[in-house]
Symmetry: C2
Subunit: 223 residues, 2 copies
Amino acid sequence: MAGERKGGGAELAEAVVDGVQDAGLVAARRDQICQAALELFLEKGFAATTIRDICARSGVNQASIYDYVANKNDILRRLLNRLWFRTDVPTLPERLDACADAPLEELVTGYLRELWDSKRQGILLSYRAVPHLRDEDRRALHEREKRMMEDLAAHLRHRAGLAADDPRAEVVSNLIIFLTAFAPMRDWLNKDVDSEVLLRTVARSIAAIVGGLAADPPTAAPA
Amino acid sequence: MAGERKGGGAELAEAVVDGVQDAGLVAARRDQICQAALELFLEKGFAATTIRDICARSGVNQASIYDYVANKNDILRRLLNRLWFRTDVPTLPERLDACADAPLEELVTGYLRELWDSKRQGILLSYRAVPHLRDEDRRALHEREKRMMEDLAAHLRHRAGLAADDPRAEVVSNLIIFLTAFAPMRDWLNKDVDSEVLLRTVARSIAAIVGGLAADPPTAAPA
DNA sequence: GATGTTGCCTGACAAATGTCAGGGAGCGGC
DNA sequence: GCCGCTCCCTGACATTTGTCAGGCAACATC
């Protein structure tokens, strides 16, 4: 009962499972299950991970697991709600809303620092698990992504002084969001680079992109 | 027999399967199989695609398929060899070797145009299928990626006049290679943007990043 | 100590999956 | 008309998978 200790606004509808009464126990077991599942999903992928794997690693019995989650897809949903849809980490557009005229590079640096620190796994999961989501869930995820892109595009238009119909705002916005996944997805290639250098280099790159956008006229087709 | 019509230097060792003699037939059937498998892998993911799915879509019998490929992983290998390891599309470092002093933005534009035109699916596959590769295959893929990053980093050092020990060369190089996957991975978000605009915006962004790298001193830690 | 209640687990089921053995169809050559 | 060869496919195998039914242990309550 009383308020389900959700980390942040859950956007994916979690199945109702009521085999077990004790709410605290349910929460604890779900933590075990999600933690184990997360590790396995990132190691082997969603489809290659079996319920038996998850049970083995989490220590929950193969039968009992169905007292806490409805099925494998439900685990994925719950993971995304915890890791990807958490609202305690403001998005980049939200940060831009809050600090309307702070220098972009600084804002981005702060954003990436927090993001890569606390949502690393959520980023990886959200990129890799898409094909395995139920349709409704995938739609929710895509809508959130689209909304974020549009919000960011509006800010870019303002900051770089672009025309309302300049499509580059959307492209660059999409691109920046993509770059947001850079460190989690590619840090195996920069293992020996100081993470602060990595962070600042990416932030500066993003600032350079936006700067270039402001300086250049819309791209014309070549002769 | 005589030279196996490989599109480019195959880097992943394909299993030897010799149920059927007629080399032309084998090649044709493999084409059917690979084409169907590619579609399915991109739609549903590798692990969620069954051999039966592939057979159904390609029209090859469930038993006969083992006369042409060794197993599901072998199909993936063959696909990556065709799509990702093909050598008829020069890499970005190779292009930089060839045109040592052409403007970067133009080079990148040409590169992306060809890449996104002919290796789209290879890019998607190589990003999504990694967890399902056999260890040797994954190692080969990672080594290629690392080599490419280092080659590109060397060029960046030269072009942007960076010190030999400036780690930002590797970071930016890694980042550019990552951006190379941008359109294939994210174009569902820019569906209504002209693809030429998208291309040029990304190329210009990459140029802006490198330009910023040249202009700025190495990032110092803040006070 | 008897009795409910709550959570856990042994054991199993049907379905799906990767893989193939072995027979058969088609066809060219004698 | 028969033989031998090449390729195809019906049918099946062992295994793995997701999912549970139904019984058991622990514990609190009376």
